[in-house]
Symmetry: C2
Amino acid sequence: MPSIRMIVKEILKAEIKSMVIVHGGGSYGHPVAKEFRIAAGYNYPNQLIGFSKTRQAMMALNKLIIDAFIQENLSAVSVQPSAFLITNKGRIGEFDSTVVKKLLGLGIIPILFGDAVLDSNLGFSILSGDQLVSALALALNAKRIIVCVDVDGLYNDDPKLNPQAELIKEITLNDLKGIMGNIGASKTVDVTGGMYGKMVELIPALEKGVRVKIINTRINRLYKTLKNKDVIGTEIRME
Amino acid sequence: MPSIRMIVKEILKAEIKSMVIVHGGGSYGHPVAKEFRIAAGYNYPNQLIGFSKTRQAMMALNKLIIDAFIQENLSAVSVQPSAFLITNKGRIGEFDSTVVKKLLGLGIIPILFGDAVLDSNLGFSILSGDQLVSALALALNAKRIIVCVDVDGLYNDDPKLNPQAELIKEITLNDLKGIMGNIGASKTVDVTGGMYGKMVELIPALEKGVRVKIINTRINRLYKTLKNKDVIGTEIRME
């Protein structure tokens, strides 16, 4: 996965001391989660093997990512959300962030991910990486969230469908909320939401003052963002 | 890994409704944990990449095992001990077994493993699968523990070194404690203990009435044990 290796090299180069990484399901977790309707909760017995397969698909992707960190001699470890988080109707309630905090304290990079989790109401559900990012940022008093996607940032329309779509370079939380109705769901297959869903999930963190930068993970953009250098993307601030 | 596939087939055939599996590090986790002295705690910075590598080695072995379950259409999921357990000087204190219980309630097989975990005193440490088995058996009110090893059971001497060593077919907890001084540590490379260490860890579960059967995972022995049939091995009871 050359894109993973590139991202890791930029993190290494930026010499970031304290960061948490959350990745989504990509082509690993999404198709199987969708096939077995895991996000809808437990409704028929054949979903159980789908729950198992979804978890395993996420572990396979997570393994590739962590292998890439280890290859660059960066100490990163997998932290399975499903091992310590139980949602309620798909939402995270209180959770124990001690393990993540202690890993950061040691100088280790915790790598979490969107996961098929147990749900106290639905039996099981999908916890999106986006929801998890926001919850972790709040629990850890994070200063900023960097959202790495395959478009240059937030547009006023879907840039993959409308070539006239304009990149929004800076936006306040209030303005974001104002235009939310016009963004529309991104069309990439994403059982957990797309760009609109990402914004919805990020709002709780933004409301607490966490800065959000959305970037395309093209060469050097992550590095520059980590170094607080000027880079193409969307910056979202509380005000 | 033919032996993993065989074990999974026997579990499938036995139609066990509720079980938790805990595996050790084998040739995956042990060498790297030993190289970086993870069990001794955090003493020098280069151990951090070793901690990361040990975790990753365990995840690799865990993946192979769960793949084997999924291949037989058995719903099993990985539950990372290090994501929800923090030891204190290498020992498990109180821990939240809700995830494991809920998985069992859904009919899913939780698969845990000996792991490199955070430690509130040492920074990090090794949590052996043996210690975890005992703690889980107590937390879940398990009826029995089946210990799968590469010898036929408990011997009065190391059977790999002494061909005259005799298999102990049945033993009470009190008699076990009595002969503990004579068993000696097994000679297989095992940073977490060997047969003597296993017995020490199992005592808390035995004291609460959990039955323990030690078997060699040769063909059909696990199946027969799961079916409560007579099989070569060592049975340990409270009295």
